[in-house]
């Protein structure tokens, strides 16, 4: 696409944009140095709920700790969706379906409204079961749909996401709008015997979620810097060529779907547990699209970016809560403005795709790996004749 003709920019100062300079700087640190910076940051993240003070606090409008939990939970979702959308470039508008499946599995296994005779499984059992069920549904949904390309995939996934919701709506055992109350929570009690995880106390939920995020970040990072991650990016860039270069594209796409699904399911379980109530209302298209918004806003394909994106999408409305009806108006406008000013997302997409990338590049060119800020999603799938 051409740039507008009327716009003459002065590129005289060929200085790297800020984001790029930060990244270059970061990449030129040694592993040890990077850890030295990472650890305090992680500690700070864990301490956030304690910093319930201006300007961080979202009170009096929104419970600060729960706002943090919700942001973290959306972060987890964004991480999962990022595997599908950011890594493999599969526009999944029905990701909420996996989130819903996770939540419903938790509800069915623990709520007393459930059709199971004795629905009191421990939360620790619920998590793996929910993830397994979502992974299976990922395969089931992915197998027929992933043969489609681009936006056809988008609309079909949207359809599947809606179908999950509609099934919950229509199938009596899933209780539709009435929902399941009293969904199970993780075990653990305070010293005084009251439960650790409650609907009203966000802190334990937040910590639990952050821990999940860190574990998943590490695992996903492993995947990314491996044959699998490269295959995903190749598929995103040009699926036909990827296949002609020997990548079993279909299988890897299903894998991306399944990985994303598992994480979506996990966040569904967390959501259901904290709210304690699951019905069909939270799993609509709008929610699904908000997930996509978090990923794209943060920088599709960039793990840290999408976490930031989730933070913006979830925390900002809580932080600057106007009168409720103005909130979404402002939010909508903010989305437009943010995207216009940072079309490549808050952090552009560029991940190292080689496990040994750092050494390889350093050896090669003597400078740290160059990372440029433009997004990796300029044109999906080029198509055309071979």
């Amino acid at each position: 696409m051409s740039a507008g003709v009327g716009t003459q920019r002065d590129p005289g100062t060929a200085r790297a944009p800020f984001g790029q300079r930060v990244r270059d700087w970061w990449n030129s640190r040694s592993r040890a140095e990077q850890w030295m910076i990472t650890i305090p940051v992680v500690v700070l993240v864990y301490l956030l709920p304690m910093l319930n003070v201006f300007p961080l606090t979202t009170e009096p409008w929104t419970d600060y700790e729960l706002a943090l939990f919700n942001a973290a939970r959306l972060g987890l979702i964004a991480l999962g969706l990022n595997v599908v959308l950011g890594q493999a470039g599969l526009l999944d508008l029905g990701y909420v379906g996996f989130f819903a499946i996770g939540a419903y599995v938790a509800a069915i296994m623990t709520s007393r409204d459930s059709f199971l005779h004795n629905p009191h499984y421990s939360w620790l059992v619920v998590v793996p079961v929910a993830m397994a069920v979502t992974m299976i549904s990922g395969v089931l949904i992915g197998t027929p749909t992933l043969r489609l390309r681009g936006d056809y995939l988008a609309i079909v996934t949207l359809g599947f996401g809606e179908m999950v919701r509609l099934l919950a709506d229509n199938l009596d055992p899933l209780r539709g709008n009435r929902g399941f109350q009293d969904v199970g929570r993780p075990p653990g009690t305070h010293a005084d015997g009251s439960p650790l995880f409650t609907q009203t106390d966000g802190k334990p939920w937040y910590w639990l979620t952050v821990t999940f995020i860190i574990v998943i970040l590490l695992l996903i990072g492993n995947l990314e810097r491996s044959r699998v991650g490269r295959a995903w990016v190749a598929i995103r860039e040009d699926e036909d060529v990827a296949e002609l270069m020997g990548i079993p594209t279909f299988r890897f796409k299903v894998w991306a779907f399944v990985m994303g699904a598992a994480i979506g399911g996990l966040s569904g379980v967390l959501y259901a547990g904290q709210v304690g109530f699951v019905n069909n209302q939270r799993f609509d298209v709008v929610t699904s699209i908000l997930f996509v918004a978090a990923v794209v806003l943060g920088g599709s394909g960039n793990k840290v970016g999408v976490l930031l994106g989730a933070l913006v999408i979830s925390y900002l409305p809580d932080r600057f809560q106007l009168a409720p009806q103005y909130r979404f108006l402002a939010f909508g406008i903010a989305l437009i403005v943010l995207m216009i000013f940072r079309p490549q997302g808050l952090l552009g997409a560029r991940q190292r795709l080689l496990a040994r990338g750092r050494q390889a590049y350093q050896r090669l060119v003597g400078t740290p790996e160059p990372v440029s800020a433009d997004s990796a999603l300029t044109e999906q799938g080029k198509g055309g004749d071979l």
Binding site: S226, L244, I247
Partner: protein
Amino acid sequence: MSDTQPGTEPETQPESQAGAQAGAPPDAEGLSAEVREMTEEERAAHFAQVADAVAPDREIAVGVGDTLLELRDVTLRFGGLTALDSVSFELRRGEILGLIGPNGAGKTTCFNVMTGVYRPTSGQVRLEDRPLGRLKRHRITRHGIARTFQNIRLFDEMTALENVVVGADARHRTSVVGALCRLPRHWREEREGVERAMALLEFVGIADRAADRAKNLPYGYQRRLEIARALATEPKILCLDEPAAGFNPAEKDDLMSLIRRIRDDGYTVLLIEHDMRVVMGVTDRIVVLEFGKKIADGTPAEVRDDPAVVAAYLGVPDDGAA
């Protein structure tokens, strides 16, 4: 879901069996800074090492000179249009075969049939005497056919090095679980992949731009990168679709020597090209297509003098046009 199907592919063994000429150094340009500073002997050793990595054992079942790939009466129709009309020819191990013909003769379509992009309406493509049948495209690549594209198709956002490593991944077998947990095979293959990819970039002469995004490379570098990526899949046959398009004559010379070196390293090459100087200069044998039919098949000299070919393709005798 298992990531590999054991037994269907030859095991990769990085053990050299490359020909004696393998160490021929590439042109001085396009060497990494590191290499440029080496002494002569160091450089020779380095290139020997490069050649090792570039041309590992491909366990080809047929001997040099025997038929490696065969098209048997391949016909392909698009609706009413017959793009290939019972085309038969064979590709022998170790040769450079030229595939020429007027525009729209069906050359690219031949590649598409060989690599599984299209399925022949009738007829067979046989690799090492086994029909490709309805093999998936990625399996065909793993069986040993790699290609470049008439309109360059790179993974634009990846660096040159990564593009090539993706090619090398075709031979890797790290599973998703293996990658997730970083099992030893993952590390081994990563190391192998990067080293091989670097060696290949050196081999085609663009190692100095290894860390650049593919889309930011000049056109000529992109063409070479495509070749390196295709080589990385450890093919038995390398199919090049108009690799010299958009090159000036000097660049074409470089390309010709590159193609020869590739063959010398033990690959078999199938080349589509319109530039007669390139075709006549590097091929051992030429197949000529016209309107989807084979009209000639022979050595460059034979083909050049074939009146049918002259009439159909070459037109006015080459009056010294570069």
